[in-house]
């Protein structure tokens, strides 16, 4: 679980072409101010620790950041930030160290591979990329290597660019980066899709190349493949939210706190451009529906990977409608097949081919019908403990605390 503190909402210094927060910007629902005390009170209610998030959180004045992080360190023992890295300065670096701020940086590659993280003009965009790359190098030099989030698209992951991206990751690994999260592109508009979306084949080729690359990198891991392997083996207690039956009304993995103190969700499903208040009751109707709905109608019926994938992130759903499965189904199916074959070759039994799968599916249906959800590992424990629904908590670590796909921070 991540508390995402968004003092300035989705306000940002750049204009990433694919950003899932663009609908909120288009609707002009960007807050103009924040209330420090209201935010702290809301973080207290959520139970912290928190990651300062945006938009771009380094737009928050440095004295306010310092105040927040000083309080966060005292109250929760650590802090986090997810940034594009462009604005990082000496004072920020001092604060990162002083207040134990774990830094996550979003960047899609070196030089022109990062152009999709646009800043209004090509010149400014390239200047920003240089600054972000310099910030990554500096943080590594100073012993605070950041985690990275990299989104794959036509700008950085077509066949002609993959070699450049691979080399960049090798350099990053040598610098001390140990954790990178690969995202598939979330398409928020037809024009963006036309310009940047990879075909399923290109996506498969790109993701497969990184899966193969992990073997040569001793220290750098791409968590998407770790997640998928864990899911196939049923040991998924620390897998990312996108695999864990996320409810778009409550987004268990993200407890957002806006600048006014309002509670909010992960923004990936805010296709209407509205940051809805978190619903008081969690529900899993999407997953019951996907289980029963034939694949030709946007569901997942009879898919052997369903219990691992669960239709994936509702923010990437077909037609932008969270009631459908992910539009990237073919990519994830292909990757699961790839990893499943590897496990079988290694003499392991993936859950997808195990007779146990049906029982676990049945248990998940019972849980979801009762308004509960667990990881596969948690469900196995629950089954072995007699399937007592009263014993199922909303999301404590005993049942699998869920990391968020937009932050590598504080996930244990």
């Amino acid at each position: 679980m991540t508390v995402e503190l968004r003092p300035t909402g989705v306000a940002c210094n750049i204009q990433c072409q694919y950003c899932y927060q663009n609908p909120i910007r288009d609707a002009d629902n960007v807050p103009r101010s924040y209330d420090m005390e209201a935010m702290k009170a809301a973080v207290e209610r959520e139970g912290g620790p928190f990651t300062v998030f945006g938009g771009e959180p380094l737009l928050v004045p440095e004295e306010d950041l310092e105040s927040l992080w000083a309080w966060g360190l005292e109250r929760f023992g650590s802090n986090g930030i997810q940034t594009n890295g462009v604005l990082i300065n000496d004072n920020h670096v001092r604060m990162f160290r002083q207040y134990k701020v774990q830094v996550g940086i979003s960047i899609d590659g070196p030089g022109e591979l990062n152009d999709v993280r646009w800043a209004g003009s090509l010149e400014r965009t390239r200047e920003n990329t240089v600054k972000t790359e310099a910030a990554i190098e500096r943080l590594c030099r100073e012993g605070m290597p950041p985690s990275l989030i990299v989104t794959l698209h036509r700008g950085n992951a077509t066949a002609d660019k993959l070699a450049v991206l691979h080399d960049w990751f090798r350099r990053l690994a040598a610098m001390g980066i140990t954790s990178a999260r690969l995202h598939d592109l979330e398409v928020e508009g037809d024009d963006v899709g036309s310009a940047y979306a990879l075909s399923t084949g290109e996506n498969m080729a790109a993701f497969s190349s990184f899966a193969a690359m992990e073997a040569e990198l001793s220290t750098l891991r791409f968590d998407v493949f770790d997640d998928m392997r864990k899911l196939l083996s049923g040991n998924d207690d620390s897998s990312t939210c996108t695999w864990n039956a996320c409810d778009p009304y409550t987004t268990r993995a993200v407890r957002g706190v806006e600048g006014t103190g309002q509670s909010s969700n992960c923004g990936r499903t805010n296709k209407d451009g509205i940051d809805f208040v978190k619903a008081p009751v969690e529900g899993f109707e999407r997953y019951l529906a996907l289980y029963h709905t034939p694949q030709e109608h946007g569901g997942c019926k009879d898919c052997r990977f369903f219990i691992m994938c669960k239709g994936q992130c509702p923010g990437t759903a077909i037609d932008g409608d969270w009631r459908n499965r992910s539009r990237d189904c073919e990519l994830w199916k292909g990757m699961f097949r790839h990893l499943e074959d590897k496990m079988l070759d290694d003499g392991e039994q993936p859950l997808s081919t195990s007779p146990e799968r049906r029982q676990i599916e049945g248990a998940f249906l019972d849980l979801w019908s009762a308004g509960q959800s667990l990881t596969i590992a948690g469900t196995r424990r629950w089954m072995s403990e007699g399937r007592d629904l009263a014993a199922v908590s909303g999301g404590g670590t005993s049942h699998g605390d869920i990391p968020h796909g937009d932050s590598d921070l504080g996930d244990g």
């Binding site: 646009w118 209004g120 036509r154 709905t293 109608h297 037609d319």
Partner: protein, 527 residues
Amino acid sequence: MADTLASSGEQAAPTTQPQSETADPGGRPAPMERLDFTLPDFTRLAWVSDGAERVWRPRLERIATAWAETEWRAVLAGVRSCAVTMASPEEFLTMGATWAEEGLNALPVEMMGISGQPYSATGVPAEAGQPFVFRFVVGRPPDVAAFKTAWDDGDQEAIGDLLGYPPCCREFFRRVWVDEAMVDTTWPMAVATGGAGPETTTTEATGPPEANILWRWMGVRAVPHLPCRLDCAATVELGTRLVEVGRRAGFAQEMDWLTEILSWSVEWSALHGIAQVKTPVLKVSTRTDATTRRYVVRRQGSAHPSEGIRGLGFPYEVPVRLRLTESRGFRRGLENAVRLHPRPSWYATDNGFSSVGAMHDAHRPVVEAGVRALGQGGGNVIDLGCGNGALLERLGAAAPGVVPFGVDVDPQRIEHARQLHAAHADNFVSGDLFDGDQLWVEGRRFALALLMPGRLLESDERRAVTLRKRLHQYCDRVLVYAYGDWLTRTGDLASLAREAGLTVVGPGGQQAALVVIDGSTPGGTDG
């Protein structure tokens, strides 16, 4: 048992799912494609902002309280013979005394568990040791006795009559809820109001606030029943009288809020058994009939709350201009992408366009119509006269699961298509689209065929007939499209299609529409 007001009405819903067919006023069927499962009952709500919640949540609570009292006071006012309400044994001690003072009788007809939801279509069975409520019928003693008899007999008509429901709505309820076993009557109501053809999945409706039942999941309604239409005159009359009863009972403020809310725009949509209701201040996720496709009902309102929010679609306040993605700076980013990750020089020119942008603009309505036609099914899609396959490429990017096939007379363009569709290179054939025997293979079906009708006009009639027969034999749907000279020549796509022996069906667009293919010649002689 009939649907009643949100705070008190829960009913058992059947679980079998026959095909629903409702008729519009013109009598055309508007089937709702339903799947054979029903989700457990649920109702969940999310507010657009803390500010909206602060203002409207207490008002909703007061409206629900006022409505519960208005329901039985309508019996005293002579608006109806009976009312149904819920009460715990403790609440009954107070309420029963009040009813008795007013000369009303109250009889429990059912014990129920507590759903914890503001609305539940399915009654929760009472469980030993768990909190429960009684469902009471309230009325004059003879009417209560009559209600009990009707209840025991399962006589929906008599129950509805005693509760004051209009005859047209009782008939509608019997047909849709009882006979067709639907768990949500919203789509049939909307179709009856606005009309809908067989392929319609979005309908717009309006009407007086008293007949707006799309807030029932939030406990806001002016009538206790499910109207047959969103503008049913008998329902409006009943609602007007009930609101007046509420005002006389001391709930003038609550009735003002109620009427205001029911005057706002609201959208209901259904997909896979989940309904989502969007309003200017909150959205609700709740159970509905499981459908293969997305069905949408938009009720245009006459007012908008000051606590409502800007959003990118109905029923929100839509900005005139998209603040970020229509800005010049952002568009420069897209231009940079095209420049930096260029398409081959032939990408647009192969297909007769001067630029990629112009081609994308022309293809956009075709792609949108193709996506709508395919739903989420994907499948084989053939483009007859595919050029270099750019249209299929865009359709494949927009509609998951598309397997492209194409034929074109120009070998160079087909070579390019094979480059664009490397994974499906063998599906692209160079040749005359009226021959193309390699594509029309026994056992292969196409979910969709794309055809510019002018191609049929360029050919002789014998070959055109052969192609129409193949389309009929091998294709589930045929989407015709046109732009440029072909459109200006005939004036519109429907005329062009008609000239080519094809009949446009459904609400076709100016540049793309589905057509009926019956395998016959325009003159009706099967070739």
